[in-house]
């Protein structure tokens, strides 16, 4: 990569931006400073069959990485699949996005444009009365729902104790091995966090150290706050609109994401 970078900076006159780039943005630079003539040359170097195959491999790679709902890093896509086709990354990933939408009804979303992390989300809604369920649902999803809804209803951030105490009331003790979930604390603070459903961070200046929970980047894209509020309203037998602030937030977020996804 460093060799390429050299050639990039030598051949290009974009060094001004590069000089400001921190080490972390070096990779970014190697992507953004590709000239159109370089891309053009690369396109000519590969046959369309070769590029088709790359696109298929990236689709396959993303599906595999999504098996455990782990987010997908651009760096990994490049390292494991794209390899020598790096100059054509943008071409390829655009076609991958199109394939996901046209074949699978899925959307490849970049949740973190700075670190280039992707997730897959669904464009189709589940429907009541399916002859065969469209989703295979793990009971952990119920656990996740409880935590996400408490965070959302409490304004976006909560101390960890509130999570543990809520779960205890639901007969799930984070200190004990649970029949269905195993090590609950690990599922919540490790698995959900790595999947980017949750953020679990230290609260500064706390002694003993305290942690707080927020929604992770995946949840922001994958979860409908409006539908969540509707379900919470159902449980309380209360009009979702009576939680004024939450309802306002849910309506704005959902309508804006609707706009971007269509």
């Amino acid at each position: 990569m460093s060799q390429r970078k050299k050639s990039v900076s030598a051949s290009q006159n974009k060094t001004q931006r590069r000089s400001q780039a921190s080490l972390n943005e070096d990779e970014e630079a190697s992507f953004s400073q590709v000239s159109s003539s370089q891309v053009q040359r690369a396109r000519e170097n590969f046959t369309s069959d070769q590029i088709d195959r790359k696109v298929a491999e990236v689709v396959q790679f993303i599906l595999i990485k999504d098996q455990k709902k782990m987010p997908i890093r651009r760096a990994d896509i490049v390292k494991h699949v794209i390899k020598d086709y790096k100059l054509l990354y943008t071409d390829i990933i655009n076609r991958v996005c199109r394939t996901f939408e046209q074949v699978f009804g899925l959307k490849l979303v970049e949740t973190d444009p700075k670190n280039h992390i992707y997730i897959l989300i669904n464009k189709l809604d589940p429907i009541q009365g399916e002859p065969v369920s469209m989703r295979s649902v793990n009971p952990k999803k119920g656990l996740l729902f409880v935590i996400l809804s408490v965070i959302f209803m409490k304004g976006g951030v909560i101390k960890e104790n509130l999570v543990w105490n809520s779960l205890k009331k639901l007969r799930v003790d984070p200190g004990e091995k649970h029949d269905e979930f195993g090590d609950v604390k690990k599922v919540v603070t490790d698995e959900f966090v790595r999947q980017k459903y949750l953020e679990y961070v230290k609260i500064p200046h706390t002694e003993p150290v305290e942690y707080e929970f927020r929604w992770g980047l995946r949840s922001e894209k994958e979860v409908s706050k409006l539908k969540m509020l509707e379900f919470v309203g159902e449980l309380f037998e209360q009009d979702p609109q009576s939680w004024t602030q939450q309802f306002r937030e849910a309506s704005t977020v959902d309508s804006s994401s609707q706009r971007t996804s269509s």
């Binding site: 595999i64 989300i121 809604d125 952990k140 999803k141 509130l162 639901l170 007969r171 409908s224």
Partner: protein, 354 residues
Amino acid sequence: MSDTRRRSRGSQEEPAGPSNGVGVRNRSERTGDMGDEDDVVGGPSGISEEDDDPTRRREIRSKYRDLINQVQQNREDMLNPANNKLTDVLEEANKLFVNVRQAREAALDAQLLVLATDLGKEKASQLHAEGSAFDPSAFAEHLLSFMGLNRLEDESGQDGHLEGYLPQGAWQKLANRSESCFKTAPSFHYMLGSFLAEPPPPRQRVERQRRVPSKEAKRIMPTQLKQMEESHQEATEKEVERILGCLQRYFADDSGEPISYYEFVIDPNSFSRTVENIFHTSFLIRDGLVRMFLDNDELPCIAPVEEGEIEPGGASIRHQCVISINQESWREIIDAFDIKEALIPVPEVLSQES
């Protein structure tokens, strides 16, 4: 809430004495409030003996810690707008503070006050928020109802004392309903290509069928087979009985002490004999003639079952387990238990042959 408390403290602080802020402030307070208890008032600047009573101080500290715990553990309950638990805690603390004389106890008071202020702030923000407040405790209750909690009759409603249990599949039910809030993509699972294609060891298969017995196997196997030929089953039964005899003898010799399972079955001179011993002993356990259990060191022990100890109905609970042993673990056990000789002697037929 914390404001009222501060104010009341402030007013108590006015008649402060010469030195030692904490002690003196309290003394004036105390003389006013509970003068009858304080006959032994010390000199103007010193701490009275009673003030320094370690038992009493320990008691105060322990009560403070209880309160702090209570606040930390029941945060949401404290925040619940429907109750006055936070005020209750502060009133309790005020009562304790009356008797606080020294810095160590005062520090605990301060710690509690910080917690209470924090909660007070949050509780206030809840009240000022527009629309309904969200009560996590009520939410948990609604979720339990949704998941079909089997509530037991004795619903005491005590804090931290959970009644009732969730039925099988309760979380699945919640997960299924929650799924409509998620736009989760389905995932693709496959088996082909998840491991490196590798032909099975066909050689091994052929070997297994046409293996030429090794020298040692040649030496032992034929006699054994001849012996078994008469009736495989009969031979096993004989051997099982012989082993039971051994066990009963050792048990009697050892004044009825249970015997270490490994010491009993392991033959340090022969791995195959060990496997056979394990095999035959398992029949004794299955038939309820011998029982197996873990001793204080969590090591397996066996002992013969006395006659009449087990009802003929065989009502005792049975467990089944698979024991695996290989040459390596066999040697490890010999070393660990320092086994020098086999407790079960080699059957006569075999020992004669070899």
